[in-house]
Symmetry: C2
Subunit: 205 residues, 2 copies
DNA sequence: CCTGAAGTTAAACAAATGATTAAAACAAAA
DNA sequence: TTTTGTTTTAATCATTTGTTTAACTTCAGG
């Protein structure tokens, strides 16, 4: 018997996964060669197949991890019965912006993957059945927020939170700003996006 | 001497471009094989190189076309001195939604390309120097719209207009709606997005 | 020290892929 | 019809790429 890795992060398996995560997330499945992964990980090419059988199997693991980044946590937020409707919006935006500041390539990866293999998207947690949606309808009925197709609400929250990350290079190019300035713009949005969503939902008299 | 193509659309060159446009836009450079393009176009493989020298040269042509779809027209709208600030927002949103309903794959293509080759993005027309931006600052100074970093305004207009197309498969999956329902949701947004932007900009007393 | 399983390596393989070639088909002009 | 330049084709080439093989190393347990 043998204690597998003394240090989990320096194990060969983990080195390959880290390299694959970086390259697949940045460039997508088709653009990455197995040799790129091996050299990025600093390991022999054959070890990739030894540990993960194939490029596709390895990609699938990375994909599930990235989808997790994207969807995990959201389910918890939207189904918490103790937080208010607007509080949930704040938490959702904060969650996305915070997460994506550390994983800026994940949005494009997930959007691409969603288009290439829509059937692989996790269907389990249905946003439409969430407590968040129930709260939305309650607020609408009470005349406290404007009525709208709930799809629009979701698209708006996600669009305002996620799009700036998917479009980061384009935004930086058009506006000519540095990474630092871009980051502080995103941090500002944690506070601003919920306020904007609130304005959208305000009932005009 | 010979009159090149009797019918421009049925010329070999145009058939190749049409096939390449479809495949590159849907799947990106790395995922498309030259043989896929040839078979989609119904032509001999060698003709691709005969007309376009290489896969890369052909891709560059498609990329410039798609970037054109994305940026052309915008310059005209934002620099028109005759339309009001809010009218421009209406025109921008309508322009994007209308265009993208017919080219739903273009946003992801452009976002990917912007990340892979940011230096190739057209820099020529600087949105920040546009008449639209001048109007924005005028409105702010007059106390008619809320002050904010203009980057946020651009991100919000584009995010609310473009994101739902980039995320189409994900939205359809999460909401479980058909292409038809999705389309009418997008058409609704032509009217709603400008209203929402207006709410965001409203000065609270 | 010996054994055997797990880990690692260089080399090789077969298929895929972008590109080229040389010959054939075609069409217009002479 | 013959000629000439253009377009199209099947076949081939040289690399690249995902995967496998077989030999070598490492090291814990007997």
């Amino acid at each position: 018997m043998k204690a597998k890795p003394l240090n989990a992060d320096s194990s060969t398996e983990e080195k390959i996964k880290a390299a694959a995560r970086k390259l697949f997330t940045q460039q997508g499945f088709a653009a990455v060669r197995t040799r790129d992964i091996a050299s990025e990980a600093g390991i022999n090419l054959a070890l990739l197949n030894y540990y993960f059988r194939s490029k596709e199997k390895l990609f699938e693991i990375i994909m599930l991890e990235n989808l997790g980044h994207f969807f995990q946590g959201v389910a918890i937020i939207v189904n918490d019965e103790k937080t208010s409707f607007y509080k949930k919006i704040e938490l959702l935006v904060d969650f996305y912006v915070t997460r994506l500041l550390n994983n800026p390539d994940v949005p494009l990866f997930v959007l691409n993957e969603a288009r290439n293999n829509p059937q692989k998207l996790p269907m389990q947690f249905n946003l439409m059945d969430s407590f968040f949606m129930k709260q939305f309808f309650t607020e609408v009925k009470a005349g406290k927020v404007k009525a709208m197709n709930p799809g629009h609400l979701l698209i708006n929250i996600m669009g305002l939170s996620i799009f700036p990350f998917a479009a980061k290079p384009m935004i930086q190019r058009v506006r000519g700003i540095s990474d630092k300035e871009y980051e502080s713009l995103m941090i500002e949005r944690k506070k601003l996006v919920p306020e904007w969503i609130k304005s959208m939902l305000e009932v005009k008299k």
